[in-house]
Amino acid sequence: MDFLTIIQVLDSTIRLSTPLLLACLAGLFSERAGVFDIGLEGKMLAAAFFSAAVAALTGSVWLGLLAGIAASLALAGLHGLASITFRGNQLISGVAINFLAAGMTVLIAQDWFAQGGRTPSLMGGARFEPITLPFADALAGVPVLGPVYSELLSGHSVLVYVAFAAVPLTWWVLFRTRFGLRLRAVGENPAAVDTAGVSVVGLRYAAVAICGVLCGIAGAYLATALQAGFVKDMTAGRGFIALAALIFAKWRPWHAMYACLLFGFLQAVALRYQNIDIGGVVIPVQAMDALPYILTVVILAGFVGKAIPPRAGGEPYVKER
């Protein structure tokens, strides 16, 4: 394996990690506030479809992005309504959203475009184009650092940079601001927030909305940057891998990034090498695909430290004396 191959695999790692990272941070905001969200997958899928559809119809990827965020926000609102206002079961609501998105996207796609549940291929301004970082071309010739900068770091779409910038931002919001303190508190003990005179419902809706926006960007990235258009079930379990990464990271932003990079790397390797031959033992590609989930089970089983979810997670808040 030469240096350029490594760079290419890592480059693909970054691109494949991006939707995971955005969805993972989305889940982080929601779950830190005590609202479990297994509907990340559905929100991403809806965002992927609506961003691709609107981008295809208007020719503007930015309008597509907005449409994707709006669609994801609408589903997040639904989740909020079910689990915060009506105090329903958060898991059931999430499952329902996943099914809703899976069915609805294909149905509308067929109705609008009549291409077997896909959108037309996106071209030109309807897609996010790679951005070339300054001096990328000039530095390309420098040994080692040149390819790292010009191939690995440069040449991604703007959403990739947004995703990675969101990591320190999330950390800062959670641990350095009033909003973050309250958000974390409401996921641990909503009664403490309530008796302190702060609205539990308001905080949780805010968290769910942030989750919706981030899932929207993740979905739009899938359909308008990573690929050129929407196809049926294109999220392919990324929402669940993001959840796995969230548990793996124990609900911490920086660790979420590491986990997503790891899982993205596994996907990149699986994509490039169908079957890996290690000294005569062939590892099938399915094993690579399953690895994120296996790692999560290992984490949950307590082999690598203990993953303690936010204490009030999954429970609707009912005021008690």
């Binding site: 641990f175 350095r176 601001t177 009033r178 909003f179 973050g180 303190l181 309250r182 974390r184 508190a185 641990e188 003990n189 009664a191 403490a192 927030v193 309530d194 008796t195 302190a196 005179g197 702060v198 204490r311 005021k319 004396r321």
Partner: protein
């Protein structure tokens, strides 16, 4: 005795809090009916009443959790509307709940600042809070480490954090709901010293409790509630525990159980060199020897966490131990097969566990389902391969009637009964089995006076039938009123045994603190 009368110190002519005609109903239940009180500034006012008398509802109205259906609230003479907790805080009301409202994995400082931050960024808020905290700590003797995590400090300290939270929000009126329920006697004493200090500084304190001694020791005035109504407001110095108890319950109550001297028979439970190591590898019971005879109550006194719980759990089959334990002369398995709760019941050991909500009941289940626990294999509850739920419900109804569980509804979930009635269900389930040995832990924790009297009577009645009873309680009063013999545990050891007539609280207190007497 004037209901809603002008009591307390008269130098501050305007009451700090005045309630006029507060009423609140939940469906058909009238939780508060036309309640009026006046609390003068700089006093400690007690509100006493049984569980379900409406004390907590009243305070929740004051703190903006519920809105009263009728009535007015005046704070320092000004009519005040309290729609939510924020309004209560703004009106200078601070509340220390029975179950603390703290974020466990936050620091003390973060908990204090939460909801009362000064700006969008945390750093300046935390810095300011740190300074204020030091001032408050010095002023009122409320020392806590601002950087400690809540989960790492004891309940006494956690309660201080709650008080500090209120003071940080500049509360002038402090409401404490059952503040000593989770505290050791020493911690409770400390709390009352702090409350007196707060009173001296001009704060007004409302103390909600069902413990008569606390009312008598600390308050200036006291209001008694019964079934949603304020039955009396009196000066503490002009009343007596007996009078208050009668006002609370509506009839004369025995504060001490009347019991004949014990007539101990042959040994039922013999414990030799019992050791228990917990899941963290810490030795909690360090080789103890005890004997409980037929027809006697052995009371185990001690501050919580000195091995009593583990002792009960091993005997009840919830935990493994080593050593020799004999029941009626035959050995009892302490680990492995035959050491579970089912095996214990087969040997006629009944167990009223310390924490009824976690170990005694399933809160979401109906009363009749709870009555089956541990005895679900009873042939009387069986019909072929299935359970005979009708028989079980008939049995539950009989137990409910005998133990005066209220409401007498076997279809009600355990969580919908008051603490006292929950405990009655557990005690009924265990005592009605007529066991040879009854293990009972904290039988009256969080239970109101009427129910305490009833439960104590049942325990004594079982003893009088010649059964052996092992009682663990952190309430010395309870130990003194029930036990025929008292063993004190400290740090996993039995520090000594005493007869109730030949010892006093001071001596037991010393033993509980690990100071052994002459030849303990």
């Amino acid at each position: 005795m004037t209901a809603g009368g002008d009591t307390g110190r008269r130098d501050g002519a305007v009451p700090a809090i005045e309630l006029r005609g507060i009423s609140k109903a939940f469906g058909p239940v009238q939780a508060n009916r036309d309640i009026s009180i006046r609390v003068m500034p700089g006093t400690i006012h007690g509100i006493i009443g049984e569980n379900g008398a409406g004390k907590s509802t009243l305070m929740s109205i004051l703190y903006g959790f519920y809105r009263a259906d009728k009535g007015e609230i005046f704070i320092s003479g000004r009519k005040t509307d309290i729609p939510d907790s924020q309004a209560a805080i703004a009106a200078g009301i601070g509340m220390v709940f029975q179950h603390f409202k703290l974020v466990e994995n936050f620091t003390v400082l973060e908990n204090i600042v939460l909801g009362a931050e000064d700006g969008r960024l945390l750093k300046p808020s935390l810095a300011k809070a740190r300074a204020t905290l030091l001032d408050l700590a010095a002023e009122y003797g409320l020392n806590v480490d601002p950087d400690a995590l809540i989960q790492d400090i004891g309940v006494g300290k956690q309660q201080r954090v709650e008080i500090l939270k209120a003071l940080y929000r500049q509360a002038d009126i402090l409401i404490l709901d059952e503040p000593t329920g989770v505290l050791t006697p020493a911690e409770a004493d400390q709390l009352f010293r702090i409350l007196h200090r707060l009173r001296e500084e001009g704060k007004t304190i409302i103390l909600i409790t069902h413990k008569l001694r606390e009312i008598m020791d600390t308050t200036d005035t006291v209001s008694v509630m019964r079934r949603g109504e304020m039955t009396a407001t009196v000066r503490t110095s002009e009343t007596s525990p007996e009078q208050l108890a009668e006002l609370m319950v509506g009839r004369k109550v025995l504060l001490r159980v009347e019991k004949a001297p014990a007539a101990p028979g042959k040994p039922v439970l013999e414990i030799e060199n019992l050791r228990v190591i917990d899941e963290k590898g810490v030795e909690r019971v360090k080789g103890i020897d005890l004997t409980v005879r037929a027809g006697e109550i052995l009371g185990i006194a001690g501050v919580a966490g000195n091995g009593q719980s583990e002792l009960l759990e091993v005997l009840g089959g919830m935990r493994a131990g080593t050593g020799t334990v004999r029941l009626n002369g035959a050995p009892l398995a302490l680990s492995g097969a035959g050491s579970d709760g089912q095996a214990r019941r087969a040997r006629h050991i009944a167990h009223v566990p310390e924490d009824r909500q976690r170990e005694g009941l399933i809160m979401e289940f109906h009363a009749w389902e709870n009555v089956a626990f541990g005895y679900h294999r009873d042939p009387a509850y069986r019909r072929g391969l299935l359970m005979d739920n009708h028989a079980l419900r008939r049995d539950t109804e009989a137990k409910i009637a005998k133990f005066d569980v209220r409401p007498a509804d076997c279809w009600l979930s355990a969580k919908n009964f008051s603490g006292g009635n929950q405990q009655k269900i557990v005690v009924a389930r265990e005592i009605e089995r007529n066991p040879d040995l009854l293990l009972v832990g904290q039988p009256t924790r969080g239970v109101d006076i009427g129910a305490i009297e009833f439960i104590h009577k049942q325990i004594v009645a079982l003893r009088d039938q010649g059964k052996a009873i092992l009682l663990v309680s952190v309430e010395l009063e309870e130990i003194f009123s029930l036990a025929d013999r008292i063993a004190v545990m400290f740090d996993g050891h039995v520090m000594g045994e005493r007869l109730p007539g030949e010892t006093d609280e001071t001596e037991l207190g010393l033993l509980m603190a690990g100071v052994s007497g002459e030849a303990a």
